[in-house]
């Protein structure tokens, strides 16, 4: 450490810099392959269109905050989608929003499940739901949930509610199930004539529903179902 005149030899040591530089350049290239095992087909900058969201995505790529910005998009999606006021405007963009968010955060399963559930069972856009799920399965080959969901959507096409119900039941049983899934499940039960099961679901919503609207909806639905059951009982006797 205590060379008498370190200033002089370090200035001469500048000759060392190119050698070290080559070393670090080599390591940098090697690490690049580790970071991006498959090189981009297209740069996110190139994929940028004129929307703010797309610009934000490019910035996220460029600054190394992909996951963070992905979560921001995700929060936006559930915000917009939870609000009926946006039904006319924003809901039409649900697929685009989900695909942006999953670009940034491809391993975040909730985007696919939420998006597919909403697209397929609520908005009846089967194509888009299937496309989103296929993307999710490609990015997460181990996620069985996505495969079930894709299957359920296929059944939806055949209008065979009995095939959809098990998948919906499993989805609704998860702690992170989106609220409108119960809605869908209860309605499907009702369609196939399983009124008791439907009532059970609505009772659950009435008890634990997150918003007033949901609880009011549940109360209305319960009244409706009780009326149906009563009529049935009367006609049976």
């Amino acid at each position: 450490m205590s060379a008498p005149d370190s200033g002089r030899w370090v200035t001469k040591g500048a000759a060392l810099i190119p050698v070290l530089f080559v070393l670090q350049a080599y390591l940098s290239t090697r690490l690049h392959e580790w970071v991006h095992p498959t090189s981009f087909e297209a740069s996110p900058v190139q994929r940028m269109d004129k929307t703010i969201a797309s610009t934000l995505r490019a910035v996220a790529y460029l600054t190394g905050y992909k996951v963070l910005v992905g979560h921001v998009f995700w929060i936006q999606i559930i915000q917009y989608y939870g609000d009926d006021d946006n039904a006319a405007t924003r809901w039409s963009q649900l697929y685009d929003d989900c695909s942006l968010a999953s670009d940034l955060n491809p391993q975040f399963i909730s985007i696919y499940t939420f998006g597919a559930n909403a697209l397929a069972f609520h908005l009846k856009r089967i194509d888009q739901a299937a496309r989103l799920l296929e993307k999710g399965i490609k990015a997460n080959p181990d996620a069985q949930r996505l495969k079930y969901l894709l299957a359920a959507i296929g059944y939806q096409n055949t209008n065979n509610d009995n095939l959809i119900i098990p998948v919906l039941e499993e989805e609704a049983g998860r702690p992170d199930a989106p609220p409108m899934l119960f809605n869908i499940l209860a309605n499907t039960y009702q369609r196939v004539g399983r009124y008791q099961d439907s009532i059970k679901v609505w009772q659950g919503v009435l008890k634990d529903g997150q918003t007033d609207e949901l609880r009011i909806l549940a109360a209305q639905k319960l009244q409706e179902l009780y009326a149906i059951l009563k009529k049935q009982n009367l006609s049976n006797h």
Binding site: S2, P4, D5, S6, G7, R8
Partner: protein, 326 residues
């Protein structure tokens, strides 16, 4: 003047050969060049105090920074304590007080001294002991626990001197050590310098204060516009016969009697006359013959000041600032 003309047995503490420094400032289109130093030759001997004098902008600070390798010379070379300043062992023996000592404000005075002490290789109780010694010497004991941000200019200057002394330097380089000190501090500092000199420390002082030069320094150098004009031992200067101006005070009522006195440099309305030392005796006898009441006679400058002004050829400077004296 050729510095080697002064005969000394002591070895050189600082040996400056043909030192030049040119500052290049300004942008590409308006380049500006300042020749701050122009080929300075200077030897500073060990165990002596050397005072470097010069007007503002003469190049004194530039010279010190070159000695400490904070600047790179345009031409010439510097040897310090027989080696290069780039060597750690050489810097170990040097204390430096910059022109405006500035410290990062978040530390206390004590912490600063501890830090600089540890750079000089002190540690543990030796360090604490040395810091206490220095705090005592610079009279900063009571304020040592305060953050530097709360210090006055003089307190900063004291800590600056403290950090310069903490390594028990063989060679102490100070750029205007007295600036910002109160009269007591001024005297204390002078005593510190005299004590250091007695203990065998070589001093290199940049200063404007002629009194300090006279009492502390063994040799002085006069730097003017980047060139070394004179280097001489102080004893020689004090013996020299550079004319000093004197002020002769008379009663204000007797002012008319002053008119027509030959050789006078300036006359004041309320009575008094400035004459060159060369004609002091003649003027006094003339006044006596006119029966003017002379209240007192005092020199207007010290011998060193006169020597200094003479050397830079600025005799004219002398008159103007003195006009207002009562």
């Amino acid at each position: 003047m050729e510095p080697t003309a002064v005969m000394t047995d002591s070895p050189c503490a600082i040996q400056i050969r043909g030192l030049s420094k040119t500052y290049k400032t300004g942008f590409w289109f308006t380049p500006k060049v300042t020749h701050a130093l122009k080929g300075v030759h200077l030897d500073i001997y060990e165990n002596q105090a050397f005072g470097l004098m010069g007007l503002n902008g003469a190049g004194k600070t530039t010279l010190i920074k070159l000695v400490l390798a904070l600047l790179r010379p345009t031409a010439g070379s510097v040897m310090v304590l027989g080696g290069s300043i780039a060597q750690r062992s050489v810097r170990q023996q040097i204390g430096y007080l910059p022109e405006l000592p500035y410290f990062s404000k978040q530390h206390t005075g004590r912490e600063l001294l501890e830090y600089f002490g540890s750079l000089h290789g002190f540690s543990g109780s030796t360090l604490q002991h040395r810091v206490d010694e220095i705090l005592e010497l610079i009279r900063m004991r009571s304020a040592a626990g305060l953050k530097v941000s709360g210090y006055s200019k003089g307190m900063l200057q004291r800590i600056g001197i403290g950090q310069a002394l903490i390594g028990k330097p063989k060679l102490l380089i100070c750029d205007e050590p007295m600036s910002g000190l109160d009269p007591v501090g001024y005297k204390e500092m002078r005593d510190i310098f005299i004590d250091l000199k007695k203990a065998g420390t070589t001093l290199f002082l940049n200063t404007h204060i002629l009194d300090e030069v006279e009492r502390v320094c063994d040799r002085i150098g006069i730097l003017h516009e980047g060139s070394l004009k004179e280097v001489a031992p102080i004893s020689k200067i004090l013996e020299s016969s550079v004319p000093v101006d004197y002020w002769i005070d008379v009663d204000s009522g007797e002012a008319p009697k002053l008119s027509g006195i030959p050789f006078q440099e300036a006359v004041q309305k309320n009575g008094g006359v400035q004459v060159s030392g060369l004609v002091l005796a003649e003027t006094l006898s003339l006044l006596t013959s006119r029966k003017a009441q002379v209240k007192g006679v005092r020199p207007l400058s010290s011998q060193v000041e006169a020597y200094f002004l003479n050397a830079i050829g600025a005799q004219a400077h002398l008159n103007r600032p003195r006009m207002g004296t009562p």
